[in-house]
């Protein structure tokens, strides 16, 4: 029996408490194709891939490999069948080298002694063949996210996996790295590997995928050929309505200075040099100022300095007329909301239920804590329910869902809801749309513009060029810890922006 399919997942149903994550879903992966999986946040994409990788057991449905039914009880079974997965959050041992991580679990030994030379040769061969450049002896903690990802890919290839699953691989990469990854995926497919690829970015799907399967709220919507479809049609399939990929907005009318930063310098944790060097800027009410730049040019530390997560080396910060240079974090938050870059590290207490996370910045207010120090649980639940409704945060069991079990995008939406609803004059939003579906991104962009029109000051930090161009009123480009350009999004181009971001060009120095 010959079949064109490498993997078939037929009528898969997977339930979690309070929700059917996959409801009778079918997906068929052809040999040698790149098959994209598209769907809103919480549609069940990660769950479906986890079923294939043996992390979850489906209650109903069967999985076929090359036309034969197989049972995948755990990731070892998956590995034996040649199925590999790159998780959205990498699973690498931080204090091991790249090479050690790659061979972990499948080491070749002779008389109990590791045979590294053979392994090294195989890894280097693979690395050359697919253009996956890594430094085999570097420690994971020292290398970029992009190289970590290439390590994960090499890990799959080293195990001779034929079916490769990528769960939102591009969410954490820079545009350049994304371009490289796309090329790598094409090479792999050309070699006959079959690839399943999850992404919220429609342009990526249009570029690399052959076919795309769309899920909506756990249900199968359809599978289409990428050649015969458009981004608009895909987003309609996935959200069920037309989505505005670019949100319209009126020109801005900036008023008073809300945030004033003078000569701010912040130390770096990674190297001895300062991460932010002598930066000065202003953000006024009624405008969206965007800090653009390639990841790792000091944006993270800049935000830490503004929000108080790290002390300044020197400089002065004034917020609404008050000097907050040395103010404690809570003091700053009286006028400031902060959507943090890393939702797992800072944004959420993952082991708390959703409702407790919704009041993380407000639990001490009289609305949620009585005078005698008791939490007002009823009010907390009510408030959380309202935010979930207003911001369309979806979860299995509503307010009592443990945050850890929510889908990545819905975790992000919860944080956004919390920070936007809280009292503030300045909004600091770092990568607010990371991991969100197009519908949700549209929503967030609308919210940002609404904030601005309500007289709030918005400081946006983003790596997405499109977001930078579409949403901001003023662009400040950060390169190696310095602001190297101030641009008007209406007058500049993506190409020019790119030149400044890469350090090839710099304002004030050309002359």
């Amino acid at each position: 029996m010959d079949t064109p399919y490498a993997i078939e997942m037929l009528n898969i149903t997977k339930r979690f408490p309070g929700i059917i994550a996959n409801d009778n879903v079918t997906i068929q992966l052809k040999k040698g194709e790149i098959h994209a999986l598209l769907g809103e946040n919480g549609a069940g994409k990660s769950t479906l891939m986890s079923v294939l990788f043996g992390l979850y057991q489906a209650e109903e449905g069967i999985i076929k490999k090359d036309g034969k039914e197989v049972k995948i009880k755990d990731p070892n079974d998956a590995n034996d069948l040649g199925i590999g997965m790159v998780h959205q959050h990498f699973k690498l041992v931080q204090c091991f080298t790249v090479l050690q991580n790659i061979i972990l679990g499948v080491e070749t030994t002779k008389n109990g002694i590791l045979q590294m030379d053979e392994a090294r040769k195989k890894v280097m061969d693979l690395s050359d063949r697919y253009g996956l450049s890594v430094d085999p002896d570097a420690l994971i903690e020292d290398i970029t996210v992009g190289m970590q990802q290439r390590t994960e890919i090499l890990k799959m290839l080293y195990r001779d996996n034929e079916i490769l699953i990528f769960d939102e691989p591009t969410a954490v990469l820079t545009p350049q790295e994304i371009k490289e990854l796309m090329q790598i995926m094409k090479n792999l497919a050309a070699e006959g590997k079959s690839i399943l690829f999850i992404s919220h970015k429609l342009n990526e799907i249009m570029e690399v995928a052959d076919r795309v399967t769309v899920l909506r709220r756990g249900k199968y919507v359809g599978t289409v050929d990428v050649k015969g479809t458009t981004q608009e049609e895909l987003s309609r399939m996935m959200v069920g309505r037309d989505v505005q990929l670019v949100v319209e907005k009126e020109p801005s009318h900036p008023k008073d200075v809300v945030l004033k930063i003078e000569n701010m310098t912040v130390a770096s944790k990674v190297h001895n040099n300062n991460a932010v060097k002598n930066v000065s800027l202003e953000v006024r009410s009624g405008e969206i100022v965007c800090i653009a730049g390639i990841d790792g040019n000091g944006q993270t530390e800049f935000v830490y300095g503004v929000t108080g997560l790290e002390p300044l080396v020197s400089g002065k910060i004034t917020l609404c007329g008050q000097d907050i240079t040395n103010a404690p974090i809570r003091e700053r938050y009286k006028e400031m909301s902060h959507i943090p870059e890393d939702r797992h590290k800072h944004g959420l207490v993952l082991d708390y239920p959703l409702e407790y996370n919704m009041v993380l910045q407000r639990y001490f207010e009289p609305d949620f804590t009585s005078k005698s120090g008791f939490l007002k649980k009823k009010e907390i639940r009510g408030y959380s329910g309202k935010l979930e409704q207003d911001f369309d945060v979806r979860s299995g069991q509503g307010s009592v869902t443990i945050a850890r079990s929510m889908s990545g995008g819905n975790q992000q939406k919860a944080i956004i809801a919390r920070e936007l609803d809280k009292e503030h004059t300045l909004l600091v939003a770092v990568q607010p749309t990371r991991g969100l579906d197009v519908g949700a991104i549209e929503g967030v962009h609308r919210h940002l513009i609404e904030e601005r029109d309500n007289g709030k000051a918005v400081l946006l930090v983003s790596l997405e060029l499109e977001e930078v161009m579409n949403v901001s009123d003023r662009i400040l480009v950060m390169y190696e810890g310095e602001i190297v350009a101030e641009l008007d999004p209406k007058e500049t181009t993506v190409e020019e922006l790119g030149l400044y971001m890469s350090g090839a060009k710099r304002q004030g120095k050309e002359a």
Binding site: P328, R330, H346, L348, V349, L350, L360, K377
Partner: protein, 381 residues
């Protein structure tokens, strides 16, 4: 049927079930050990361990023995609460033993040398424990020293500090290694009974410390689950970075947590030494086991403040029961062995929970399959 299933799924029911399972397994293995040493007395010995005070001949003697067990349960419960409280906040307070020592040190010194009334001694004991806990907390918060390491070291430091301070002539006779009896030097330093002793055949060691400890458990439970303070502490324990992001003073929270844990353990010491149950021996060269038994009680109690009330009593009960075993057949350490076995099995609590859940899932699956089959069969008819 349905009700039974959902009952099994209830987390508190699961916690109780797994704890019981630990106990049964511990006793079973203990029984086998007893059988190996001497088969004829094994059954009796297990019975003695479990029944403890019930083995006494007269009702009055039973009550008195129960009083003794309760009197020692109170300090154990305080130590367990100390560990449980810190554990809920993500800290493993193995230093409870040292905090307990400091409690004994300040409490006894105040009572014997300074002739203070009992409530002042109690407060000083709490302060002693809290200070030691705060040191561990400070090291953890600002120097990133693991609380287990510094806790263990401070256990020893506190032991010898206590021995030294209580060796002075104000607190001890030269002839004896034990501190002076409170009942003879300062009756006001004894925690009062308010008539509770009458209920236990005039056992004067039964004091208000016992209801006090139970109330403390309830307070800890309320703090952890219902207050803003508990919300902050737990958030810090789960994710220190997020706590910082939310503007909580995460380092202060760590210190406060260990200070509270220390105070609880310090009070625990006061609950033993200020009842006149026992005197401190200044020649002891091992850390008192109370702090470690507290770890066992914490885990056996399902990491729940209210659960530790029962588990503390249970552990004290088998410890006392073990002392009654026929010493001509079995070594006196046998009770320690059995409680150690039970404690050891507590380590499997999570494993048992997993098994229970798997069992439920399997059963549900089977039932569903049956239902489907029944439905299909029905269709055909």
């Amino acid at each position: 049927m349905n009700e039974k299933k959902s009952l099994l799924k209830n987390p508190s029911v699961q916690a109780i079930l797994t704890s019981l399972l630990c106990v049964v397994l511990g006793l079973f293995i203990g029984y086998i050990v007893l059988l190996i040493i001497n088969p004829s007395g094994a059954g009796k010995a297990i019975q003695t361990i479990l029944m403890n005070f019930m083995m006494r001949s007269s009702p009055a003697a039973r009550l008195k023995a129960l009083g003794n067990t309760l009197a020692k349960t109170a300090p154990l419960l305080m130590c367990a609460l100390s560990i449980c409280f810190c554990y809920k906040v993500g800290l493993f307070n193995i230093g409870a033993a040292g905090q307990y020592e400091m409690g004994a040190c300040l409490g006894l010194y105040a009572a014997i040398a300074l002739k203070m009334p009992w409530y002042v001694c109690l407060i000083l004991a709490a302060i002693g424990g809290a200070l030691l806990g705060a040191i561990t907390g400070f090291l953890k918060a600002y120097r990133n020293v693991n609380e287990v390491i510094s806790g263990i070291m401070l256990n020893w430091i506190a032991l010898y500090v206590t021995n030294t301070i209580l060796s002075g002539e104000k607190t001890k006779d030269i002839a004896s290694p034990y501190t002076l009896k409170l009942s003879s030097v300062n009756k006001g330093g004894l925690i009062p009974s308010f008539g509770l002793d009458k209920l236990f055949s005039n056992n004067s060691t039964v004091t208000i410390a016992i209801p006090f400890a139970v109330v403390a458990a309830i307070i800890i439970w309320i703090i952890l689950s219902k207050t803003k303070f508990g919300y902050e502490l737990k958030a810090t324990g789960y994710n220190k970075q997020a706590a910082k992001y939310a503007g909580m003073r995460e380092n202060r929270n760590i210190i406060v947590t260990l200070a509270i844990g220390g105070a609880l353990a310090g009070i625990g010491a006061a609950f033993l030494f200020l009842t006149g149950y026992q005197e401190w021996s200044v020649t002891q060269s091992s850390v008192p086991s109370m702090g470690f038994n507290g770890i066992a009680a914490t885990f056996l109690g399902g990491l729940h403040p209210l659960g530790t009330i029962l588990s503390s009593f249970f552990i004290q009960n088998i410890t006392d029961g073990g002392a009654l075993i026929d010493k001509s057949i079995y070594p006196s350490q046998i009770s320690d062995l059995i409680s150690a076995l039970i404690i050891y099995f507590c380590g499997f609590v999570l494993f048992f929970k997993l098994q229970i859940n798997k069992f439920i899932a399997k059963k549900e699956e089977r039932n569903k399959a049956k239902e489907i089959m029944a439905a299909e069969g029905g269709d055909k008819k």
